[in-house]
Symmetry: D3
Subunit: 319 residues, 6 copies
């Protein structure tokens, strides 16, 4: 059973694959017949789907939110590809595992190799000098490795794909290491640790399940405070962790979002926190601006102004 | 040794007492002689002090920030009482304890009887129904009783005197109990618990020492997050504390300040939190407005507008 | 003629009743036939309606905005009940009065008994001490009783049903009486009067007609200023009303909305006004939060964040 | 008795005149002697005053806030003129009326001839077409003429001198007449009336006494709402005043300050109100900018940025 | 070939004309047949269009964004006129020029005679005294005359029709001349020049093509800065242009939008700039308010509040 | 003549040096004698000065704002060093040049070697690939080298010392080069050029004279727009400078300050501008935070909250 990803769909070909059904709606054709309108997603993109025949039968086979196995023909309609399904079934690991079904096929995932990113992350930690901070970071990342490999950096903001958390971690960690070298007054190991732990609470605040979203704790307590919990738990596992380091790290997590209105219970009160905050902002904002520019569907050389930046962005900026 | 409090000073009498010296400055008289200008405080108020004679001697006896024993004559100057000191010495418990010196004589303190307030607080807890919440509250208040008896409700905002924390606690607790009766959909025990614990982090966030002010933790972590720590520690001491209660109480602390810009890491997300927030605001704002009106020195029927309310307040409002 | 209210509709039953037709749109069925899509409302709720047959005939019988008498079958479509009408006619008092038609059947109305609320309100006034304030309140409420029984507390904000104004009045009046007992420095009769009169201008600012909405005066002058007019007119009917009370009551109305940006021409300038403002806020905000939580249609444990509180609210908050 | 105004003081001359004593402070000379430091004001300016001799005697002759008669020598000190008083007495009409004392000598007053301004104002009204509006305006201005001749346009904002209200009235009235001619869709008489009445509430909101400031009503109700009272009272004196005009004029007063945050209970809801608001702003802001530039004491070509405009202003702007 | 403009369309008549096709969508009729839904615009308005027959043929004849020649019957549907087209073709100057096709027939254009407005503008310049400023203005307007005749004052804000720029220019220029006469301290020629040049950068910042919108420069540099470029280029063409005038004019352009948040790189720093800013605001805001009121489709006496003024506007305001 | 800098002053030593007299005030001693109170500055710091003898003589020798040559004794008063001057004279290059007087001795100057910084800057340019951008940068920096060596990065904000501009340039240029390597989608040469030119307008906007401050152009046009002028002038000197590069560089200067409210005429519209903005912010904010912490005089472990960050900063943050 050859599986085709949405990114590789081509007009007028027959394909099969596994998808997450994000929407399922009963609609009426021009001729008065019912059909099902679907919105399908896999790790590589999204596409509209249609079921024209045996509507009653297929309608009861799956619900919105279910993983499905689907077969059909890719056709172009109104200039956009869609999948006209001839067969659809709910996909479970029991039944379709043998055909290669894995949940992660369904979820948008970064293109970079996550194992390679993990190695880079570990390398960053190894290159630090302070043994207590190294011990702390190793303990935390070892504990949450499985979750981190799956986590997006945010629910619907920057780096929202699987692995986005790790990608953002590595990118900001590398910038922190560079800036630590650039500013001699900055305590480099403290900065790098702060940057690597700034959003660690996301491992409790965002669900890694199929549909993603915030956990109850994520909503009610917030990932900033949850991250401090993780830090405080981990500190107790490191031999002779210097007490004066703990409060500095706590504040690095508490203050990394900027002002209270931006999400920090307390604003940055020493230079390493300020720097961690700005490094986080650089990497997040840049990712968002690239996304806005890459995904704008219009033909105008500028995007609209309904985006996080509240201004049109220039799509023809590359010289 | 009869001690006179600042509130009881009368013109042209000789008094003695213990004071906290908030300022000590070397100044020059009209005749070119040095003198010491002091700002003195005790539990009942503040007054300017002067040392005209033996300036060199007394100058080295104490520093700004020291408790002092002082003797002198109360005189009126420019329409305001001041204390012309004839004798001043640094006050220590060793030397002056026998004469009645206690630090709490020096610090502005609420006029209500704190022991009576404590009883009222305990009564509020006793009248609750939920045994787990009662157990939790008893544990926490027993643990921090000593600090709570000394704590102001804020450093320089509402209820800033010793015992102000307790006063605010009892007042908001009573309002919570009343409103719980008024709104049948409100979970009364949850509301009262939330209100009684909303600022509990102050016991770690504000110093109860002579000079008051925020602790390092108070600055860097904030009393909101510190209060949740206390809650989480205490929950583990209560037998079979229902886990679903914990997160509700955590959010009651996390959200009680209102929006993030007002100081809550997460805004109120269910009705009891919203109500706890508004009860806190009522008691705090009302206290502040009474203070502004009571303390305005001008003769105009309205105060100036440089206050928290950003508007002139009407001093002649009582009919 | 047995009438069924929307709240009591059950699947697959035939019902008849009186409704306000909020929308009437000509649409096309899957088979190319016309049908009428309706949005119907009565005192207990809203429902979609459809007219499949005799479209041309029924189409001309009533307009959007008309009260109608309708008969039909309740069916479930897409999981939601709708009324498939077999007969519809414009409802007038002349023709349908004999069958029980009254306008108030059409308008969402509070569930509490308004006569009971009115008694409670009168009791609140009776329990006051100041005879002038009692006389004033009795005069005003006697004058506007008919309107007050019909009025919502706001057009589309808190307590927006018929009787909502009265409900909000009683609730805030009771809280005011309680807090007057709690805070000894507060002038209780002044506070209660202020709270009972704070929104009295609504009787001129909101229409009690079928479609509700603001009056011209409500838009152009605003209920705050209109309420002060009512106060000033009424004061002249009370024997020897003390002049110094009048300006206090005027400011209680003028200032009860908080800051100018929140809708007060002048912000609260003495404690009773501040307290009246916060009591109003408690009752309004709590009502709004319950509504948001009760009415959120989604299955997620949290509502969306497009609400007055600008944050997701927790629907599973009850323990 | 020749009187000299502060604006005409010259170094090393002996002068006498009447002044308002804004401040009176007992100070100490370099030689240890007491002296009195005064801040004096008359209609033309302000100056520092000193009393070096007979301090005890003169000290008891008058208080801060009193009008005084003073005689002395004008001297330059630190580059600035001051008045070294040899004789000072409290000035009352009884005793000094015969020497030319009138309170208005003491209060900063516009330089333009107020009677001439009044004539211009009356001319503006006469040139209107609508007889009801003319009648209304004549009634109101006749009623409050005495106050208007004395009133500043604001307590400490634009046109703060005696007559400033009248000056602002005439200027904005003239602009309104011009713009009414410019914009054919604008109802000219309505606009002019709105502009002439926009701040009429000031006659009840600002005190015309020696020390100026807001009245209790001005603080608690605000001049906007008070102005609408005056309008409503006056409307009843005009024969057959068209009712549909009243609400338009009410809204012109209610809305002329712009948004609620800028001081309007309701924002401008039709074009004439918007225009009245912007005309008010032009005249007020321009007056304030000229004042800032004229009064800046520094030598830099730009003022500081602590002004209403929150920006440095260019003092050398005239070419 | 008689051409009918959209403003002159009457029910049940056959018309032909030239239109800009703003939207073209393939839709499905109730009977399951395809049809084309169009949005058509000419200089006098907008209207929905439909093509019911020969859909396949006409579909390929033109694209959204094309000028078209269309013939059809005007019919009323749902109370609104629409054009049922029987023939449609892409309009080019080559083929349809002979029938009267000109692009400007397609673009909303002010109703006032632009040549007359131009004369008024020239008259304004002629009546100035300063020969250098006159020379400057003549040079600039001569250079950009062709563009100015086509330019709207903004893309989608005030005066957005062809000629709107010129209309706004003349209106604000006339107000400036009036206010220059009114305020003797104002440098009239400087003010008028500033007002006439304040938005001159629009000639480079807005496209005058069929579809309008900002140019790249308009987006990336902004019309304020572009306007200063034009000024600086022009200054060099005027003999002996006084250097001290240049920076005043530069700041008049730089500062005319108000605060930086309102779009000025630097805020107004001398009175003429402040006045120019407020004149611009008067003319722009008034135009916008008339548009909101004129174009509101609802039957309520007030518009909705989703407009620039964030408040309902009164549509029945004319007495 | 041995010169001592303020940073090297020691108690009870006799020193001589050149200083800028920032303030000169005539005061009175305790004994009633006049003395002169001075505020002196040199490149290394500030100190209070006093002249006790020959006051009349020295008083006329120099004015506030003059460079002076002074000799005196360093003494401690109230715990702070001051200079009791025995001799003071106005310093001119003619008279004191032979003794080593140079203006730059008087002005706070960065400690880093400016020639070394310049070399680093040139190295940054050399390492770029794009020959047009290299040519452009070389032309601009060659042209303004003399000014850049003297310029602070801001008047009273970050890097306010002589050479601060260069220091900020090198630091942000280095960060830009690093981040260009980090983000492969970023056009590195464009980013580095943008960063190096972002504040180039300062060379026309800030005065390099003794007293510093903004130039008229700096106030009225702003350094952002002035910087674009410099860019546009320079582009014309580079052979075949690609036109598409110019507008990108213009926007890099126009948009580098962030939102309009933060000072950019247009906000960042493509990624390199966003990045340039955030690099500028990192270097500026970090410098400001270090300054706040280093210069806070209090003994409390936290600074006050009246700083750019609006929060107390932790002075004991170094572990």
């Amino acid at each position: 059973m050859k599986l085709t990803s949405i990114r590789d769909f081509q007009e007028n070909t027959t394909v099969q694959g596994f998808f997450l059904c994000l929407e399922k709606r009963l609609k009426t054709t021009k001729a008065g017949d019912y059909y099902l309108g679907l919105l399908l997603q896999d790790a590589t993109g999204r596409i509209q789907g249609k079921i024209w025949d045996q509507v009653d039968h297929f309608r009861s086979q799956f619900e919105s939110g279910d993983p499905i196995a689907a077969k059909g023909v890719v056709e172009k309609y109104g200039g956009v590809l869609q999948l006209n399904c001839t067969h659809v079934a709910k996909a479970t690991r029991e039944r379709y595992g043998q055909y290669g079904f894995r949940e992660e096929l369904l979820i948008p995932t970064i293109q970079e190799d996550r194992r390679q990113l993990w190695k880079t992350l570990m390398g960053l930690i190894t290159s630090m000098k302070d043994k207590h901070l190294k011990g702390l970071l190793r303990h935390i990342f070892r504990t949450y490795k499985e979750t981190i490999m799956l986590l997006p950096a945010s629910v619907s903001h920057h780096h929202p794909e699987r692995g986005g958390f790790l990608q953002h971690l590595v990118s900001t960690g590398q910038i922190a290491a560079m800036l630590a070298g650039h500013y001699p007054r900055i305590d480099g190991d403290l900065l790098v640790t702060g940057v690597l732990l700034h959003d660690i609470g996301m491992v409790r605040g965002i669900s890694t399940g199929l549909e993603g979203g915030y956990t109850d704790e994520g909503h009610l307590i917030g990932h900033v405070v949850l991250g401090r919990d993780i830090l405080r738990e981990a500190v107790q596992t490191v031999d002779e962790f210097p007490p004066e380091l703990t409060i500095r790290l706590e504040h690095l997590i508490i203050g990394h979002q900027g002002t209270p209105a931006e999400g920090s219970p307390r604003p940055p009160m020493f230079p390493e926190v300020l720097l961690a905050h700005l490094i986080d902002r650089i990497d997040g904002r840049l990712d968002l601006m690239f996304r806005e520019i890459d995904n704008d569907p219009g033909e105008d050389p500028f995007t609209g102004s309904r985006n996080l930046f509240r201004t049109p962005l220039w799509k023809n900026y590359r010289r």
